[in-house]
Symmetry: C2
C-alpha cells in the first residue's frame, strides 16, 4: 500500500497530476485510510504505469480513458477497437507533421534568401517576402 507521494516517486507523475487523473476517472486509489488518505495497491501502480506509458505514447487523456476500459474488460473489447484508437492518433500525428513540414519549408526558403548579416534591413528579402504575401515557392535572393 503506497501513499500518493510514494506512487508519485514510483511513476514520476506528480501527486497533483495523480489527483487530477483521479478527477478525470483514470486512476483511483483502491483503499483509503480512516482520515481519507489515498492508498494504492500493486494493481493501482500497474494501472498508473499503463497511463503513463500511454501518455508518453501521445494518447490524450480521453484516449487513455478508452484504452483503460478495454484494459479492465478485454473480453468485451476487440483488437479493432484498439487499433481504431491508435490509428486515429496516428492520423492526427501525421497531419500535424505534414503541417509542420510545410512550415519548415517556408521558413527554410525564407532563411536561405536572407544574408543574415549586420547590414540594415531595408532590402531584407525575408521582410520583402512577408510583405509580398506570396513566397512559398518563389522567395528570391537578397536584392542588392
Amino acid at each position: 500500500m503506497l501513499k500518493i507521494s510514494e506512487l508519485s516517486a514510483r511513476t514520476g507523475l506528480s501527486a497533483h497530476t495523480l489527483r487530477f487523473y483521479e478527477k478525470n476517472g483514470l486512476i483511483t486509489a483502491s483503499n483509503h485510510s480512516e482520515a481519507g488518505y489515498r492508498f494504492y495497491t500493486d494493481a493501482d501502480v500497474r494501472r498508473a504505469e499503463f497511463v503513463k506509458t500511454a501518455r508518453n505514447s501521445g494518447f490524450s487523456l480521453e484516449d487513455i480513458g478508452q484504452l483503460l476500459s478495454v484494459r479492465v474488460d478485454k473480453l468485451s473489447h476487440s483488437c479493432q477497437q484498439v487499433t481504431d484508437i491508435t490509428q486515429h492518433k496516428l492520423d492526427e500525428v501525421n497531419g500535424k507533421i505534414a503541417e509542420l513540414q510545410s512550415l519548415q519549408q517556408t521558413l527554410t526558403i525564407l532563411l536561405e534568401s536572407c544574408c543574415g548579416g549586420p547590414e540594415n534591413a531595408t532590402h531584407c528579402s525575408i521582410m520583402e517576402a512577408l510583405e509580398e504575401g506570396e513566397f512559398r515557392n518563389n522567395a528570391g535572393r537578397e536584392t542588392s
Copy 2:
C-alpha cells in the same frame, strides 16, 4: 478608409481578431470617426496583410510584434535580427517535427503488431506493449 468589417473582408481576419490584435499592439486603426469607429488606411491594410502572412508562416504574435518593429524602422534593424527570429522559429518547428516523428514511429510499430480484427483483446499486442512500458523498439507480433 475602411471600417473594421471591410478590413476583415479584405484580410480574412475576423473583426474580433482584428480588435484582439489591436489590444496586443499589432494593428491599430490610423483614424477614428467621431463616434469612435475604427477607420483603416491603405497603410493599415498593408500592415494587417503583413501580420496575416507572418501568422500563416507560423510566427507567434510575439514574433510578429518583433517583425513589425523591424518593419517600421528597417534602418535601425539588421538582417541578422530578422534571421534570428526566423531561425528560432525554424528550430522550434524542427524540434516539434522530431518529437512527432518519434511518436509516429511508436504508433506505427504498435499498429503493425496488432491484428486489428474483431476478436477480443485478451492478447492484443498493443495492450501488452502499453502494459510493458517498453516498446519503442521491441513491439512483437501478436502472440496468438
